[in-house]
């Protein structure tokens, strides 16, 4: 077999083996990588860090563990920002019946971090309310946008140490009548619920999304049209937000962490536990993308060599 053919027909098992090595080995080492956060991530961070802590935020968690590589890092950063700033929030899910439990597991994880640092854990019902799962995403978001109170009516949550209680008795929802009473809707999603939210909620309150990498391009459309105040895109977005939480925006002299469109400094949480999945998995993404580029180049070099060989043979035959 010629080199051209060999380059074009590398065995699948070898390719898969290399991919496994490339994606798993970087997880065992701390590889510091430079970063230039996207403008959308900077806007997301600034909006999250300048929220008024006295008004609640509506948080939609529409992801499960299938996209935890991206979504969990984003969700954890959002929760860390909320809890460190004392921001009350209301959690709901519309995409998947598993989603509320997955979100609750992340809340518990962040709470464990707080307990380790002798900080007060976030209390269910007092600091955040769980509305649970709504089976029909479009109708639910439509209902929440047009008549929040009636759509949520009858839902109960579990205060710590007490029986299930109507969610409107929670201090989080005490001043909420409509979606306009939330100062922002944050959607952490791996599904179409982001589109439904823009269609139904835009114009009623601010919107910010954290989406998976494949959803980035379609979400950017809404960011460009200013329907979103910011968004975090995939693993790069998770990495951006973790870095911004550590370094702040317009705080130090680094050009990457400056935003000339909004020059006011936004402090992060320097020295706190800001590193998460974004920072840990970003080197893995690097290696996977580098491997992809190499494989595509190999395949194309093989194709070009094969063409040359065949044209030589043709000339020799004449």
């Amino acid at each position: 077999m010629s080199i051209a053919n060999k380059l074009q027909t590398l065995p699948k098992t070898a390719i898969y083996g290399i991919l496994i090595l490339c994606t798993s080995l970087p997880l065992f080492f701390q590889i510091p990588l430079p970063n230039n956060p996207d403008q959308a991530s900077k806007d997301f961070f600034r909006e999250m860090m300048t929220l008024d802590a006295s008004k609640p935020v509506l948080l939609s968690s529409d992801w499960t563990n299938s996209t935890r590589g991206e979504s969990k890092g984003q969700m954890k950063s959002v929760l860390r920002m909320f809890m460190r700033r004392g921001q009350k929030f209301v959690l709901y899910s519309t995409a998947d019946p598993q989603a509320p439990q997955v979100a609750l597991d992340v809340i518990a994880e962040v709470n464990r971090e707080r307990i380790k640092k002798n900080q007060e854990p976030y209390k269910r019902f007092e600091d955040y309310v769980v509305l649970g799962f709504f089976p029909n995403a479009e109708a639910a978001i439509n209902g929440l946008a047009n008549d929040f109170k009636a759509t949520v009516k009858g839902r109960k949550d579990f205060p710590v140490g007490k029986e299930a209680t109507d969610v409107f008795q929670s201090p989080v929802l005490k001043d909420v009548d409509s979606i306009k009473d939330f100062q922002m809707v944050v959607v952490v999603t791996a599904s179409k619920t982001s589109n439904f939210t823009v269609e139904r909620v835009y114009g009623k309150t601010k919107l910010a999304f954290a989406v998976t990498g494949v959803m980035g391009p379609e979400t950017k459309v809404y960011y460009q049209s200013k329907q979103l105040v910011g968004f975090v895109n995939g693993l790069k977005g998770a990495f951006d937000i973790e870095q911004l939480m550590e370094k702040g925006l317009n705080v130090d002299s680094s050009a990457s962490f400056r935003d000339d469109t909004h020059p006011a400094p936004v402090e992060g949480f320097k020295g706190d536990d800001n590193v998460g999945q974004g920072t840990r998995y970003f080197p893995t993404l690097h290696f996977a993308m580098a491997l992809m580029i190499i494989m595509v180049i190999l395949g194309n070099v093989g194709m070009v060599l094969a063409k040359k060989d065949s044209s030589k043979k043709e000339l020799g035959g004449r």
């Binding site: 299938s66 029909n136 710590v160 950017k220």
Partner: protein, 301 residues
């Protein structure tokens, strides 16, 4: 009237026998209605389905198109028929949304019924894949048993607080943790990660510069991928950044990877997506109108 009826009828306290009785009555009524619908003559079915579809669609069409009062106080009464309809639409909205939620909830039940019917039949008939059917049904029953058992335990506030400590977990909570967090969630992630293998294999075998279009696509993809690699982007941008000497209007500024990616995203990708979205939106609207008005071939049959 429509908006007040459900409140009055279903307002018994949760867990009361009156409410349970009403739920059972409602369920039986629903099953009876469905059974009656199956007995309707074939010629009438189309009209019934069309009528139901049209009325359901009409509500949302009116909700969005009917003029609404700018402000409305809790004690306001409509001044005329137009305002009366507007008030009715607004008040009925939550009922319709809840109705949709309930129907969607029933669809989950329908899925469970369908799974049970197919796989129990396979097991009963000794199908060659009966073992897999058994595993599926066994997993479903086990998950429901442990998850519901754990849920019931957590309804007791004292027990719920105790269960925050994993050392105090009993067999039900341990079972739920093993099945949901230990198995389902991990398998979910593992299944999704397989995509990486397919993408790499497909890119290697299919991404060839066979034509001008393929070359443009490949070059664009390469630029975007490189711009996402922080290390590469940092070095390339640093190199061109050194040439432009902090002048954002310098010609070399255009060669920075982040500038190129933003150009591709803002000027090529977003307009393309907008075009596709507009096209699919118009298509969905046309399809929606056809279904709503009963014009779709075979609708109602």
């Amino acid at each position: 009237m429509f908006n007040l009826l459900p409140i009055a009828f279903w307002s018994d306290p949760a867990g009361s026998s009156a409410l349970t009785g009403k739920i059972v009555f409602g369920l039986l009524l629903g099953v009876g209605l469905l059974f009656a619908l199956t007995k309707v003559p074939t010629q009438m079915r189309r009209s019934i389905v069309f009528g139901g579809t049209f009325l359901s669609g009409l509500f949302y069409v009116l909700f969005y198109l009917w003029p609404q009062p700018i402000t409305r106080g809790p004690n306001d009464v409509p001044r005329d028929a137009v305002e009366g309809v507007a008030f009715w639409l607004k008040d009925s909205f939550s009922v319709v949304v809840n109705f949709t939620q309930i129907i969607s909830g029933f669809m989950l039940g329908l899925g469970v019924y369908s799974l049970l019917r197919i796989h129990l039949t396979r097991i009963a008939k000794g199908h060659k894949d009966a073992f897999f059917s058994f595993v599926l049904l066994g997993s479903m029953v086990a998950m429901a048993f442990f998850a519901y058992g754990d849920y019931i335990l957590r309804l007791d506030p004292v027990k719920a607080q105790e269960l925050e400590n994993p050392d105090k977990w009993g067999p039900l909570t341990r079972g739920r943790d093993l099945l949901f967090d230990g198995l389902l969630q991990q398998m979910d992630a593992a299944m999704f990660s397989i995509i990486a293998f397919f993408i790499l294999s497909a890119a290697y075998r299919a991404f060839r510069v066979r034509s001008v279009e393929a070359t443009i696509l490949l070059a664009t993809a390469l630029l975007v991928i490189l711009s996402l690699m922080g290390l590469v982007a940092d070095r390339v941008d640093g190199f061109f950044g050194g040439l432009v000497a902090n002048d954002p209007n310098d010609f070399f500024e255009n060669f920075k990877l982040t500038t190129l990616r933003n150009f591709i995203g803002d000027n090529l990708q977003t307009p393309s997506i907008n075009g596709i979205t507009l096209g699919t939106g118009i298509g969905a609207l046309a399809m929606g109108l056809r279904i709503w008005l009963g014009l779709e071939k075979g609708s109602g049959n």
